[in-house]
Symmetry: D2
Subunit: 389 residues, 4 copies
């Protein structure tokens, strides 16, 4: 995606940018009333919307159409309010949705926008960068091409957002998923996919995206990010990557979040890795990092400062957790990702006192085996004597 | 179940009883190798086994046959080691199994046994009492007869275990479930059930058992425990009841646990109610009550003293949790009980550093709407200077 | 829905109408490329579209959002091609979608349109009538008001389509479904629903719609169509009703299909009831009625004349089928409706040599207990010597 | 399994054998009351039982424990009636159970037994042969060793049953399945499995068994039965193989059925392949082959002669069926095998007028891609003037 010179998102000369992050509940994936009201009340400039990340009602697997439904609904809303076409909105805006609100989780979407800062303020503050890869074909998924294109796109997004690799706290990628018909068609074109099972191909796609991110952030050596390592060498991972896949997109859509002096405003961001699905300590530590005073649960008044929370998790591959067996990988009725999202989501919700969490499974190479990460965006309280702009 | 005079479980003249609680993992519901090894090593006297409570691999719903499978497996093992028939073992021993090890939970069973105490020790200690109602027909489920018979049986079990109502910490009931064929047959006999849907009839059965317990423990007035209140007046509840249902039993099988001066030994028990599925505070408080020093997670060395943990939970009926929507009650793919078990189970596991938890859904009248309870049996460390017998 | 005088669907003075029925495959519920291409090729006049009936990818239960997704997608397409707003299209057009393409079934939608006939042709031919009830509240579902409003709307639709009750072959109703939040809200307004479980409330809604239809078609006495009979007296049923429910609509949307001398063209329609899910004979008989020469499977050349097939089915309530047990009603992993759709759908597909079938479960009062109906729209071959217009 | 000289199943000198096949319904996998009653009524000699093939209530996937439950239940019954131990019964008797009674299917088990013929009768008649491979490790599954051992065992079973390859009508294999813990353990022993996902490893096991059968029956060249072809070259298949896998067995247990002059009695057997899941013609043809007079459904009186029906089926791999899309391979909520069993089971039930069918998915190399087979055992009517013995 090339940024046109008159793009409203371009950074003003000499100025700083200010990120806004707003979270909306939805009754169903066609319910965009929250954003509509915020736009109509002048709280959000629809032309300033950079990306939307959301957690929808579906199963989060190949046949989850709630992601596409929300995407279409938001695109039509933003199109109507900006005068662009829905197609143009979809093409320019990463809509990154993950299905599955198991257990206590609550369906919602997070709208990321940016405006030129009017006045000075805290820095570094939350920074946002975007990029898209070219469209990917079924046969590209889980192959070197996806790794390379993702790494390059992450670099462009960092550059756009004014972040160096160490400034980055979270990289979200949404890449394409393909059903069995597409996979068969690729084979018949003489371009067989790395996997013929749709769910497994999704896993390869997440894995390739993760290694691309890890390479761009310098978490692994350049030469380690190879297709041969995918789903094989789980010692290679990113502690800041969150990758998902869905049939509603055709390119890897990338959102990079971090801290940058080029951005100002009250929002800040932090990330912690979880060593496994019971890593309550990491969650409490992250809340403490950001001044939320968990005891061990964050009080409601502090929880109100949470603007977004992104979690990545996965069942441990040896079928164990702290030495005892879990059953997630053998279950023919409930997919392993649905199990782990419900479990880790509840643990995070218990600490944060908040259930509108973006919890995504399929953490191949995103954290250590059985582990994952948690990223939190919060509004900082105004410094004493310095009223917040 | 009348206790014959020569019953090995009868309390010795003038003596005190000593409870033992042992937990075993299982690879599948036919795997009773853990108990077999413990019996063969002389660690458990098979004739002293009072009851077994377990969490099996199935869905925990009407068509969960893993409960019956484990029951048959254990009955044959105990029969072979005691010289009784498997049928006699099943008739005399409450085997209370709940299906569903969603998320991080681990399949296991807890063997409760009691022997005459050889020497003096701490008191009060963990006390156990058992009782069975007469067999229940489909048309009895969720009716006054089930409430009354349960209340009376709980009283007999308290009496047997040497506990007054205030001594009781936990009452587990496993009652019968019936499929659609049984329900239809009852209607054709002129005895229609209170509900024709099997899953809903299970809910009525749990509700009736819970109000019977609440009445026996004095938690609600005698006259409040009416069939009319079942699944209607959710202000009536027990804070110490855990009720489940399964097609493998035909009577309400009842195990009462508490503290009593008539029992000795290192085991103790505590219970806390959870106000909702995010009540992390209650879990931490319970761990503190029992000296497990959560920070907020219990350290592995202390977690090793956990002998059993029983949890009851349920989705909040208004579809909300702390003001945000959950989707558990509208999900046609995953039953609401599977959702909530996975969520609350993970929260408890996160605090206790233990995944072999008996987490059971269907908490109608067992805790407040959307809430539940947690009960923990632990081994107390020996008092300084007083080596443990 | 009042028909404005300049409505393109109004029957021309002295003239006859001609129905068209076109079926389109879809890759996902956002894929309306089939209809788009047909409109753009001039094969379908978007302003002549009366209704769309479709079978989408979801589970067909409360949390199936694929229906709403397809509705939004079609509404935007038709809006773009007619110059109306998407909201206006949704308000005026019955979009009747049922989720669940279990087994061999294929996702698709059927577009019903009508134009003034240009030249004389066969009669009677396929006739179409539409009507909407006023919006229904959660507390109206499964109550007398829904029965009465449905019966009255069916009468209006018959009138609009030029059909007497005996001319009617099929009545499709799509009514509203509500989730637990709506149901709770109704109770808090002092208007409790007839059922608090969302899935069960859907069943009440289908039942009320079915008795309304049966009354309007004269299949049951006027006074028999009472709320008290709903889900109780299964001896009351319609042999031509197909009712479904979904959260994406707020009124009962009604499409009546039959034969009428006021309509011309090559399309005809037939219906047969199935006595149970194994009623292969009824399927073969229907194919024979319409000249498809099943042997027992319809040959591909004849199957190509099928324009639409609507099936309604349901598990037998006593848990038996021809004396043997089925397990559909006791299954906690797969809903009974998903089971029966997959089974009956395969049987119909086997006879018709066609898998793009609208097979809908939840046949309460729509056919006898455990039975259902099959309705087929086909193109008749041109009469010898009379080339088809 | 070597047959000891005093084995009750050994063929008498100079005599012929007589097979009996009896089918029993079960309320749950612990319900063996049907066989118990037949034994106690003297209708079945428990010592003459050769094998039991059954369809149980579970999901038919890795975590289906209903197979093990029925196995344990039958073993204890047969042990009690023969004086052997349950372990000895399990070791000597193929108990081949497949989970999944989707749609109209009915849980049941088929008891195969054989006795020395007392008097002359029809020949050829139904013949039975058994064999076991040595125990298989996780790393053997889907490898050449499993192919070779299966082929050799099928040859032994044919020999035991007095059948040449062309006499064989049906070969049922039940082989071991392993969960993720076993698979991980194998890798840690330095013996990685061909697949680390449990469900996919089951597929490899079925595939290897199928090619072993095809080789033994001469359906494919000896040298074509290679591990490299498994799940790759779907042009290699057996038209008489039915393979399943489950965690309750450790060897490939093999039952060969066919026609042989060494056997007598009224039972006969036939098999047809289905080219795809809509091959209604093959089903009708098979019923005609065996004189059941389908029109197109077999009348109840003729259906009463059915003793067993075995079906194998599978979703077509390109996601199509007769050119239209199916969704079975993309469904994250219901496994593809559950879909196809429900669909094909209904089609077979519709023709045969019988729902107690052994319908098994996972037909890799068992029939062509998307196809399968149907095998029917029936009782022949007595020839006119020749009363049946």
């Amino acid at each position: 995606m090339m940024m046109p010179v008159n793009d409203p998102r371009a950074v003003g000369t000499g100025g700083r940018r200010r990120a806004d992050v707003r979270r909306f509940a939805m009754a169903d994936p066609g319910d965009v009333s929250g954003l509509r009201a915020a736009i109509d009340a002048g709280e959000i400039d629809p032309a300033a919307i950079l990306a939307v990340i959301g957690k929808t009602h579906g199963n989060g697997l190949v046949n989850d159409y709630t992601r596409g439904y929300l995407r279409l609904s938001l695109a039509h809303l933003i199109a109507a309010r900006t005068g662009r076409s829905a197609e143009a909105v979809m093409e320019a805006t990463p809509f990154i949705f993950s299905g599955g609100v198991e257990g206590v989780l609550s369906p919602h979407y997070v709208v990321l926008s940016a405006t030129d800062a009017i006045e000075a303020g805290e820095a570094p503050s939350l920074a946002i960068g975007l990029a898209f890869t070219p469209d990917l074909m079924p046969e590209d998924i889980g192959r070197q091409r996806q790794i390379d294109l993702t790494a390059e796109a992450v670099e462009r997004a960092m550059d756009q957002g004014g972040m160096a690799p160490d400034d980055v706290r979270f990289v979200q990628v949404k890449g394409p998923a393909f059903g069995s018909a597409d996979i068969q068609a690729a084979a018949q074109r003489g371009r067989p996919c790395v996997q013929c099972e749709p769910g497994k191909l999704m896993a390869y796609g997440r894995a390739a995206s993760a290694l691309g991110i890890a390479r761009a952030l310098g978490e692994i050596p350049f030469e380690a990010a190879t297709a041969a390592a995918l789903l094989q060498d789980f010692g290679l991972w990113s502690g800041r990557a969150s990758c998902s896949a869905g049939s509603e997109v055709r390119a890897n859509e990338i959102v990079v979040l971090g801290l940058s002096d080029a951005w100002t405003g009250p929002l800040t961001i932090g990330t912690r890795t979880m060593v496994d699905a019971l890593d309550l300590g990491a969650l409490v530590q992250l809340a403490e990092d950001l001044g939320l005073k968990p005891a061990p649960q964050v009080a409601a008044a502090d929880a109100a400062r949470i603007r977004a929370c992104f979690v990545k998790c996965e069942p441990q591959r040896d079928g164990l957790i702290r030495g005892r067996a879990h059953t997630m990988l053998n279950d023919g009725d409930i997919d392993a990702q649905r199990h782990i999202r419900g479990a880790v989501g509840a643990l995070v919700a218990g600490v944060l006192n908040d259930t509108a969490l973006f919890v995504s499974g399929g953490a191949e190479h995103q954290g250590s085996d059985g582990g994952g990460l948690v990223c939190l965006i919060i509004e900082q309280p105004p410094a004493p004597g310095h009223p917040q702009s």
